[in-house]
Amino acid sequence: MHDTAHVQVGPHVPKTFIGKYIFSLDHKVIGRQYYDLALVAVLVGMFLSWLMRIHLGFPSFAIPGLHLLSQNGAPGNVMTPEYYLQLMTMHGTIMVFFVLTTAPFAAFGNFFLPIQVGAEDMPFPHFNMMSFWVTFTGFLFLVASFFVGDGPTLGGWTQYAPLSAAGSVTGPGQGLGVVLWATSIAFFCIGQLLGSLNFITTTLDMRTKGMSLWRMPLTVWAWFITSVMGLTAFAVLMPACILLILDHVAGTSFFVASNLVINDQLQPHSGGSTLLWQHLFWFFGHPEVYIAIVPAMGIVSHILPTAIRRPLLSHRVLVYSMSALAALSYMVYGHHMFVSGMNPISSIAFSFPTLIITIPATIVVLVWLGSLYGSRIRLTTPCLFAIGMISTFITGGVSGFFLAQPSLDIMLHATYFVVGHFHFVMAVSALFGIFAGTYFWFPKMYGRMMNETLGKIHFWLTFVGVYCIFMPFHYLGLAANVRRYQAFVDDYTQPLLPVHKFITVAALCTGAVQFIFLYNLIHSRFWGKPAPDNPWEGTSLEWSTATPPPLDNFGGTLPVVYHDPYQYGIEGSTGDYVMQTSPEKIQTQHDEA
């Protein structure tokens, strides 16, 4: 029996509403809270993107009611240039932090990591609870910036100094807006560090009997690798944000150089380093995008075997590849800074690891593809989104090929090509991972099935829709359409305006489709068909327990694990699949790697 002395806080039964649903110590509740936060965030972020796209596609269109959101930002319902940038900044910040880091990692990870390794809970439930509420506070700070003085910051989610650091003199929203942004992100970092603490300790120390490292499902590996990245990345962004705040409120000059003249006034700062912010930010920033995609890779790798009824070609190769991605992610960050003014030799130096990182990413995709060979595909909705993720990840990855080369970055830096690339790999691929995970795990989380027909409609329209939206971004970028412009007034961009109109229409349509998902999510939560314990005939530990899982996950007796995950299509077994907890003896052979 698992040594319960190790469990710092056993399943302690909450008695009040607040203890059960608000300040819960239960990792499952915390996971659901994170999911709901991400859901609210994605709706806000998507709404912001609609406003942006309407303005870009149809600049003179007065959006009804916009002045209610911001009197200064949209007098007469027509967006001002600064308001566009403010919406853009908030869109990026909310999506990257509060959706793409929160949903696949914090939400699903919190809910399923302990269950998949056979633990009753995470070892530090108080820190876990704190991690959610600290993250949530961060979200509040960010949203608050909409309602202050001259609005949110307009410096982009990357907040390059000195635009971000020199104070309100650089533009609307650049005073209090920046301070709120930096505070929000600092809180977010702390929340994620607390989360990583729990993820790492659970993975290493709380596995049940028989759950060796190689028997952990790929989702657990993905969350573990992501936590390690988060540990190092967020711990760097946080002090950077503190220094940024100090430049604002304390008159320091970490990031603001000397002799700068803004609005004909010589600025009081001296000696700060513009590039220092970029180095600190991107040292975090690049691992951050892998933090967004690795859990989605884990989710797809986890769902595929269940859907194709055979294990992936090699468990270990996927783990090594994800680890390689994580390790390399620290060496590539300079590819965001090729023309930044850093030493051009550094640019070449950074480009090689960036090109090399293609290799583990390719291996992951090839293993997925190779696993499809000779399999038996069940095209359920989770499977559709998993396959969709593979397709969109290939697309996004291929465009990265271009951006990895400094000589091509001369033409593509800060154009829509970059925007197309990162939307494909993050906004689409990671998002498809989130969708796949949702449809897959919803039955286990809520005890009810989602509507399969609505799910399929959601997939089809979204899959075609995202290609319609984001593929043209690449064409625009090749034609040198610069990004972060609220309007296109240059001569050479005039022929591109019809493309922007097309994108806007596609974006609004695809956005509308997401309400099918939202409806499905909410309706199924209350009125969906009751779900069996193992609706997908899966093998990992979450399917061996009740639906939804009891407070201590396994109803008093921790499971014992006998097999690797993903034992499907086993010759010599009594069924098509063998669950990890089944004591049935099966023929042993070596892994194909």
Binding site: P81, V317, L355, Y373, F488
Partner: protein, 267 residues
Amino acid sequence: MAKLLAVTIVIIAIVSAIPILRHTWWMPEDISTHGPPIDEQMSETMAEAGISFLASQILLAYFIWRYSQPKPGEKIKSFPGGAMGLVIAAFLLVGTEVLALGAFGAKAWADLYLSPPAANAMPVQVQAGQFAFYFRYPGPDGTFGPLHPDMISEANENFFGLDTTHDQDSKDDIVTAEMAIPVNREIHLLMHSKDLGHSFFVPELRIHQDFVPGLDLSVHFTATKIGKYEIVCTQLCGLGHYNMKAYLYVKSQEDFDSWLKQQAALQ
């Protein structure tokens, strides 16, 4: 459903590729001397990326088509070579591809950024500030006068902060809001920022360089075709970022000389 998905994926892949193959939207014509290796790099990369993209999407589609409806009695199979074969393929194919691209690209990059300007390159200074570019030519004495940031004043149109009363070298400097250069002459562009981060991008010239407050940077290039081009700011610098641009005129030597004389008269 599976067949439909497979067909959809193939259609999406092909439709996506068509505008690329037809260059429907493409880089503007190269007018620089250092540009051809960059354009070649772009074509190479596009070919390799295009092949990888099409091949993998089609393979994905094929597998979905083929394995969604197994024949009765068909056993589950494994990809020949297993994962190891794929790993080796990835290392060999992708590895050589990326290293080759990296090496060739590094040369194209070095030619532009790691080579010094020619001794007789014509110096032009550009200052970026919210939300305009201003240019300065050294005038007949060939030297730029010193800059005094405390004297910068938009109101007085002293954009660079020149002290023409006390600084001899500043007296003949020519400050303009548009940039003109003679064709086929190497230009040494000296860059600094007045206030915050900006960037200098001329797509036709294949030139892209950020301004860094506190750093004096430079690039050098030679334009090969007469015409009017746009310099656009690509580093978010505030609400006027979208509108921050200047025209670049590449003129014949005679036209340039007369232009410069006209500008000098306007100082």
